[in-house]
């Protein structure tokens, strides 16, 4: 069944009509009121660490140069590549995403890049997380700057599901960084639940006064523990029969979905996905291993959320793409343009966006890399605008925005 835009409008209209005839359970009323404003929208950023290859993700099977450049590692329709639009196809392991594409909820953009080309993982990741390429002194993150623009100071506005604090959320706005929502509590290990409760109370007291960073951090910890404890929606399992795969994409997106459902005022979620994306050798095996759980996680996320997907804009990014030609180890090296994946009600789905620069010798950057056609910063600003944060000078200071890439509504 295709998902056409008029259906979305119908659902919103139905909500309003239901209010009109006096049938208005509180939750519906709240959702309708918020649907009129932007207060329910959630931006989810999924970061694939390592520089995921775009050419084998969004396969340009219609371009003969692709096959010339990658004689052993290029993918063909016969290998299971799923056609998207007659020129591009999906990596076979990403097959579950075909359905989301047909529904109009998923879009791809295979030529996103960064003017400050760097082939260093650490620099490139930092530049993308701070949104300030070339600036090595930047201390705060772009999502942090987005969150600051949103009224309110709740800890739950900005959440990162990651083992380490990602640079994107660094900064003065409180944020919640954790790996496991359900285990975010004081667990003393013995003495029964009573001792854990008592320890929590005593330690909370110890941190209440005190100006140093440790005390301040402690207050945030206990605030978060309390908030999470009193929100049963966070403890529930996936809805609608969604099944998430094991691994960081699965656990990250499962919890992102819980946060969306829990309605705690969460507006930005960052999911960190380490993996073997840095495919310098044996790329086919690496991609097969990583793309399958990524696709399964995205699919489960959509299924889990049901109609709530309307209020979500999820973007999958990586710090750079990879060289157009294969190397001597059946892999690829650090490149330039990467492919972004976009999912949710905020996305103009069912399309592969962007112009195709081609893979001929003259078309490649430095004779090695697919060129980009859109600066990642314009994608980020567009996403922030969808979220209701429309002052680009605060989100990405000093950047003169280019045209809106048109990926989002």
């Amino acid at each position: 069944m295709t998902w056409d835009p008029s259906r979305r409008l119908f659902l919103k209209g139905a909500g309003l009509a239901a209010v009109g005839i006096g049938f208005a359970p509180t939750t519906l009323l709240t959702r309708v009121a918020e649907a009129a404003g932007l207060g329910r929208r959630v931006l989810v950023q999924v970061f694939l660490r390592g520089g995921a290859d775009g050419l084998n993700l969004c396969v340009p099977y219609g371009d003969p140069d692709y096959y010339a450049l990658r004689p052993q590692i290029a993918l063909r329709i016969g290998d299971g590549v799923r056609n998207l639009n007659g020129f591009f196809g999906l990596h076979p392991a990403l097959a579950p995403l075909s359905e989301l594409y047909s529904e109009g909820l998923l879009a791809l953009h295979p030529t996103i890049g960064n003017t400050g080309l760097t082939r260093s993982h650490f620099d490139a990741q930092d530049f993308m997380d701070s949104g300030l390429p070339g600036d090595k002194t930047a201390r705060d993150g772009w999502l942090e700057r987005v969150a600051i623009q949103i009224p309110g100071e709740e800890l739950t506005q900005l959440v990162a599901i990651s083992s380490r604090t990602p640079r994107s959320v660094l900064g003065p706005h409180p944020d919640l960084v954790l790996q496991d929502l359900a285990a975010f509590s004081v667990r003393a290990g013995s003495g029964g639940g009573a001792w854990s409760d008592e320890a929590e109370a005593l330690l909370r007291d110890v941190h209440t006064a005190g100006a140093g960073p440790v005390h301040a951090s402690g207050r945030e910890v206990f605030g978060a523990v309390e908030t999470l404890r009193t929100t049963p929606a966070l403890m529930g399992g996936p809805a609608n029969g969604a099944v998430y795969p094991a691994g960081p994409a699965g656990t990250g997106l499962r919890q992102a979905a819980q946060l969306v459902r829990a309605d705690l005022g969460t507006r930005c979620i960052y999911v960190n996905v380490p993996g073997a994306f840095d495919t310098h050798a044996n790329q086919l095996a690496g991609n097969n291993a990583d793309y399958a759980p990524l696709a399964a996680a995205l699919f489960a996320f959509r299924r889990d959320l049901g109609s709530l997907i309307e209020d979500v804009l999820l973007m999958v990014v990586t710090e750079f793409g990879r060289t157009a030609a294969q190397n001597g180890s059946l892999g690829t090296d650090h490149g330039f343009a990467h492919c972004g994946l976009f999912l949710g009600g905020g996305v103009r789905g069912g399309r592969v966006h962007g112009a195709w620069p081609g893979l001929g010798r003259g078309a490649l950057n430095e004779g090695r890399d697919l060129r980009y056609t859109v600066d990642f910063r314009d994608v980020f600003l567009s996403a922030a605008r969808w979220l209701g944060v429309s002052d680009p000078s605060v989100v990405l200071p000093g950047y003169a925005a280019g045209p809106d890439p048109g990926i989002f509504y």
Partner: protein
């Protein structure tokens, strides 16, 4: 600069400067998770027969939970050794506190603790006495008032003696999070 690089003079200036002494003996730098775990083990005189639960990558009680899985730093520069990069991070901070609590109650695989080394002759059922012992042995008498107050208030319950609770709270407190 006056003495044109005379090392002895430079050292003298450094050692007598305010900044040096405030760094060394002031509020203290925040420990990295690694330092925190090691100092905790030492403070209670723990016997570690297997460090696996502390270092395994998927572990829920050790360094991985604190965001510092051993040898798994992504950057070639390795893990930051500046404590300020580790806190604030609510997940990591909570993991530290849980580590302290579980360490003392001996619910971490491969680690056993005999608190008599720490509390000496103090009666394990007497929270105030144990608090004094901990203050002397671990904090050199500098245990902050609010931590002392919390330690003294631990309840006596049949499942866990006050001594364990006092040590757990002290190690989880901000006082032990800094060097």
């Amino acid at each position: 600069m006056r003495t044109s690089g005379d090392i002895a003079e430079v050292m003298r200036t450094l050692l007598s400067s305010e900044e040096f002494w405030s760094e060394a003996f002031g509020p203290g730098k925040i420990k990295t998770p690694h330092e925190y775990v090691l100092s905790g083990l030492r403070a209670v005189g723990a016997e570690v027969t297997s460090a696996r639960s502390l270092v395994e990558a998927r572990g829920t009680v050790g360094l991985a939970a604190m965001g510092m899985p051993t040898y798994e730093a992504l950057d070639p520069t390795g893990w930051s050794d500046s404590g300020a990069d580790w806190i604030p991070n609510p997940g990591s901070h909570l993991a530290r506190m849980n580590f302290a609590l579980r360490l003392v109650s001996e619910t971490i695989d491969g680690i056993s603790v005999d608190i008599r080394n720490l509390i000496g002759n103090a009666d394990p059922g007497d929270a105030a006495a144990v608090t004094d012992a901990v203050d002397q042995r671990i904090f050199a008498g500098l245990l902050p008032a609010e931590v002392r107050a919390a330690c003294s208030r631990v309840s006596a319950s049949s499942s866990l003696r006050p001594a364990f609770k006092v040590i757990g709270v002290a190690l989880a407190s901000p006082a032990f999070q800094v060097r």
